[in-house]
């Protein structure tokens, strides 16, 4: 069983320590979001030692945990920010330095806001229309279903999750998975039903494993949702069309609602790899499936080339929703109201970016992602998409024993030392869930090449020393 361990957050402690750290000179740690339990432990250990006035061989801690492009030094896209600035302060329409396509987009958006202000409550139909068109183009003209903007995953989960005991809604969840999703399940009272991605097979999804997980879960809950992340987080695995078809067939047979988290769909880096959406595949499987299988497909402005995590905006498209629930869903959505208008502006640009010929097109460019080579004593199933590298650590027996003596997990010990000795903060595999006896680390590769090079240099240096020490 995976170590579905403490998904607790001890951020309060962290921010106190961070405050202490910031008061020390010679080391900077930018304002990062609260990390999960293992990460917190790592940082706390580090910060504690730092407050003792210990000198370090590095000036700056590099936090490469988060899928947060801007924190990682990637610059926001000019077009996006100019449009937002003009929408916020329309007096900028008089500015000569701002390109005409920026002004045109801003004017269009402001026209769609009653009162001509982005200070109004959310829900700009024009933005929704743009999303519909984007999906339609992406999937080659298949019909569009209802969709919404906002914090989509929790919203849709809430529609489905209820019950206790045997009736408790179960959610088939990939292992590894990102921690806040699992925390969200706990919060809503859903039962997490883990299914293991196959590391030896490039982290792909085997339907037999889905079947196994489902069968075992029926003894303690009511599994109704099948959650897939494609491209994967943290694995970077991109599902083939055949794999997606298999999953859809499985969901149809077993009456499961598919949640397809596709937020990394624009981040494809392997030569020849291609993203195909669950919706497109579903519709190309014919009416037996396309008229019946319920699917929620998610996207967001947080990842992708814009990387606007802080704006908190995304959408969900709900496919084959039963007519009896449509009214309730609309009502529930109208009560939510959590999407900032600024986020919707970013969403509009994401689905309708500058085109070739537009003045802003040349600067609206793709983020280049960099791959990571495996180090000795690690193995790496290179993904084809997403923004993370997920390395497996083959830790020597001596290291495992040392960890046991220290009363900690081996990968946590590894990461704590990495942070101490090299000032690099990674995500411990424990937080994603992993097969017993395996250890991993996650690195965000959606960052500047300089920063990533530095991280890899420090990691390599540490790793070789570590292997040496415990050989």
């Amino acid at each position: 069983m995976a170590t579905a361990c403490c998904w607790d957050c001890r951020g309060l402690l962290l921010s106190s320590y961070r405050a202490v750290l910031r008061s020390k000179e010679g080391c900077s740690l930018s304002n990062h979001p609260v990390v999960d339990a293992a990460g917190v432990e790592v940082v706390i250990l580090f910060l504690f030692s730092h407050t003792q006035g210990v000198k370090k061989p590095y000036k700056e801690v590099i936090d490469i945990c988060w899928g947060d492009a801007h924190s990682g030094g990637t610059k926001p896209l000019t077009f996006v920010r100019q449009v937002i600035a003009v929408c916020i302060y329309p007096e900028l329409l008089q500015e000569t330095t701002i390109a005409p396509d920026v002004k045109e987009r801003a004017r269009r958006l402001l026209r769609e806001c009653p009162g001509g202000s982005v200070g109004k409550y959310c829900g700009i139909p024009f933005v929704q229309d743009g999303v519909c068109e984007f999906i339609s183009k992406r999937d080659g003209g298949v019909p569009i279903s209802p969709l919404h903007t906002g914090s989509p995953v929790q919203f849709v989960l809430k529609l489905l999750v209820h019950g206790k005991g045997l009736a408790q809604t179960g959610v088939l969840t990939p292992i590894p998975c990102y921690p806040t999703f699992v925390m969200g399940l706990t919060e809503l009272g859903a039962a997490m039903v883990p299914y293991y991605l196959c590391e030896d097979d490039g982290w792909c999804l085997h339907v037999e494993e889905l079947r196994r997980a489902l069968a075992t879960s029926r003894s303690h809950c009511n599994p109704r949702i099948l959650y897939v992340i494609n491209p994967g987080n943290p694995t970077g695995h991109v599902q083939s069309r055949e794999s997606i078809e298999e999953v859809i067939r499985f969901a149809a047979e077993e009456e499961l609602f598919i949640f397809a988290d596709e937020v990394y769909q624009d981040m494809m880096y392997a030569e020849g790899s291609q993203f195909v959406s669950y919706k497109k595949v579903l519709f190309e499987m014919g009416p037996q499936y396309s008229n019946t299988v319920e699917l929620a497909s998610f996207h967001s402005v947080s990842k992708g080339i814009m990387g606007e995590c802080g704006l908190r905006c995304g959408y969900v498209e709900l496919v084959n929703l039963d007519p009896s629930v449509k009214q309730s869903v609309t009502s529930a959505f109208n009560t939510e109201r959590n999407t900032a208008v600024i986020g919707q502006i970013a969403l509009n640009i994401m689905v309708d970016p500058p085109k070739p010929g537009d003045p802003s097109y040349p600067t609206f460019s793709q983020v280049s992602l960099h791959t990571v080579e495996a180090l000795p004593g690690t193995s790496f199933q290179a993904g084809s998409g997403g923004i993370y590298a997920y390395l497996r650590l083959d830790l020597p027996q001596k290291a495992l024993l040392q960890a046991k003596e220290e009363g900690t997990d081996p990968d946590l010990m590894y990461c704590s030392r990495l942070l101490e000795e090299e000032g690099v903060c990674l995500v411990v595999g424990k937080e994603h869930g992993q097969q017993e006896g395996t250890y991993h680390i996650r690195i965000c590769i959606g960052t500047t090449s300089t920063r990533l090079k530095e991280v890899l240099r420090r990691l390599k240096s540490f790793h070789l020393r570590f292997l040496n020490e415990f050989s």
């Binding site: 957050c9 001890r10 951020g11 309060l12 921010s15 405050a19 930018s30 304002n31 979001p33 947060d68 492009a69 801007h70 924190s71 990682g72 610059k75 926001p76 920010r81 100019q82 916020i88 007096e91 900028l92 806001c113 009653p114 009162g115 202000s117 982005v118 200070g119 109004k120 959310c122 914090s151 929790q154 809430k158 529609l159 209820h162 925390m183 969200g184 919060e187 949702i225 149809a252 009456e255 319920e294 814009m306 990387g307 606007e308 995590c309 802080g310 704006l311 908190r312 084959n320 039963d322 009896s324 629930v325 309730s328 009502s331 009560t335 109201r337 959590n338 999407t339 900032a340 208008v341």
Partner: protein, 516 residues
């Protein structure tokens, strides 16, 4: 080809038929057998709490209003040329101008290259730089700490301290949120537990802002209603609190008491004495106080003053200030800012159990962080231009003017409504709404019942169809049995508001006549 499902419903046993109890689920397959797949999400298998959720402010009447707008756009002929959305407290949508300074700082934060130019005053630039320095990678597009950007929380704490005459405020007790609604729901999540007689009960005012009833339905908490006193300007009477509490103790475990001050929809501004009484009551009865204070700058009536719950609590001495658990909510959506679309807000937690606080911090991290532009806006709202700074004069002028116009419209609304036989309107002491009481003829009430509609919904629907004015019926907020109200915002521009008031007046008169 994979296994087909051949679930034939009992009514169709052995027969292939075109018609069935659930026609939508019957599909033809290639070999022409009718079979159906049960949907995973149906009205019966849906989370039952979600079904119970109603939010009148955007409910069926608004959906009809949207439809009518579409019909008008398509060229339909109606006795009016536009729909007036006086249903929702959305100031900018009704033409209120944003505060220039705030928008300047936000524009600078969004596109920092503007810091190099000459279009913006130095005080705006200084604040933008400070905010950006506190953001990951210097960008508002980066995640922030889940509790909110630290320097913003510090600024909020300073603002509260100044507002409350120097009573200390610890930034660690400040949690930034996605509007106040998000924070309110978060606290309710912490509070709601137990089964049966131990199920959490939450006291809410009637009339109330329907976010509360929606959240309580969603969380499966018990709603404990206490009535505000319409005869006394919607004031709160502690004996009524007591009555409601005692009745509730029979079937649930009352844990929290929610107050909205200034009130929504009622607009009443609680007196200091009243606030003390409520605090004392909460202390005696061991209740967690939730003070929704988002309209704290919207106070218009002569002799009325906003008193923050925290200030009063601390002035009552340590017997109360050391013990009573209080959370106070505020946001950037109302007051003179009206920036609903930015989703800026915060809560201050006072005397919260430290273990619970850890859980709260964990809970807010599930959503990662509140929208960063909203946090930036909140920062500049609590840290506006000071006397002597370049933008001060314009800021003060805009702020004063906005609040003054609202005050005039509040008074105008009360005045006009009280000239209409059959409408009585309490003074709009604060907030953004009038909540007049309407008397309805018996025949109208009967017709409404026949239609399965609440009588004030029937009234408001007719009003919408005949005048294009969209209000929210009082039944959406709660009211005493046998009384009827509607909520109308005071937000339309003054000229338009005058017309709206006149139209409502005329409609009421003709409606009364029609159904007499």
């Amino acid at each position: 080809m994979s296994r087909d499902r051949t679930h034939i419903l009992p009514c169709c046993q052995g027969a292939v038929t075109q018609r069935c109890c659930q026609p939508a689920l019957w599909k033809m397959t290639e070999n022409c057998f009718m079979h159906h797949r049960t949907k995973v999400l149906t009205i019966d298998t849906m989370n039952p709490n979600v079904k119970k959720v109603e939010y009148a402010v955007r409910g069926p009447i608004v959906q009809r209003a949207v439809q009518i707008e579409k019909e008008l756009k398509a060229g339909a002929k109606k006795p009016f040329s536009e729909v007036i959305r006086a249903n929702i407290g959305d100031a900018h949508a009704m033409g209120q101008r944003p505060i220039t300074f705030f928008r300047q700082v936000l524009a600078l934060c969004s596109y920092p290259e503007l810091l190099e130019g000459n279009e913006f005053p130095e005080d705006a630039k200084e604040r933008a730089r400070r905010i950006l320095q506190a953001c990951g990678g210097g960008s508002i597009g980066a995640y922030s700490a889940s509790q909110g950007i630290e320097c913003v929380r510090q600024d909020v704490a300073r603002y509260i301290q100044e507002r409350d005459g120097g009573i200390p405020c610890n930034p660690d007790n400040i949690y930034l949120s996605t509007g106040a609604s998000d924070a309110i729901v978060t606290i309710l999540k912490l509070l709601v537990c137990g089964e049966g007689r131990n199920r959490t009960g939450v006291m809410i005012p009637i009339p109330q802002y329907p976010l509360y009833s929606a959240a309580l339905a969603d969380l499966g908490a018990v709603q404990i209603e206490y009535y505000l006193d319409e005869e006394n300007c919607w004031s709160l009477d502690v004996s009524e609190l007591r009555r409601a509490l005692v009745a509730a103790q029979q079937h649930c475990s009352p844990r929290a008491l929610c107050i909205i001050n200034p009130g929504n929809p009622t607009g009443q501004v609680q007196s200091r004495q009243c606030i003390e009484d409520v605090i004392r009551f909460a202390a005696e009865e061991h209740l967690f106080l939730m003070a929704d204070e988002v309209y704290q700058d919207n106070v218009y009536a002569e002799g009325c003053e906003f008193h923050s719950f925290k200030k009063v609590l601390f002035e009552m001495g340590p017997e109360y200030s050391d013990t009573v658990e209080l959370v106070s909510f505020h946001s950037t959506s109302k007051c003179y800012m009206g920036e609903c679309g930015f989703r800026g807000g915060y809560m201050e937690v006072i005397n919260m159990d430290p273990d619970v606080k850890v859980q709260l911090t964990k809970l807010v991290s599930v959503r990662l962080c509140p929208p960063v532009p909203g946090q930036a806006l909140l920062d500049v709202v609590v840290n506006p231009p000071r006397p002597g700074e370049p933008s001060f004069n314009t800021y003060i002028k805009e702020r004063t003017s906005t609040l003054q116009v609202l005050a005039e419209k509040a008074w105008l609304t009360e005045e006009v409504f009280n000239t209409v036989p059959g409408i009585t309107c309490n003074p709009v002491q604060g907030a953004m709404y009038s909540f007049p009481r309407i008397s309805l003829p018996e025949r109208a009430i009967q017709q409404a019942k026949e239609k399965g509609q609440a009588p004030d919904m029937f009234y408001c629907m007719k009003l919408l169809e005949e005048t294009g004015i969209c209000l929210v019926p009082g039944s959406g907020f709660g009211q005493r049995e046998g009384t009827y109200h509607f909520r109308m915002t005071i937000l339309p521009p003054t000229d338009k508001l005058k017309i709206v008031l006149e139209k409502v007046k005329q409609f009421h008169q003709s409606f009364t006549q029609q159904y007499s």
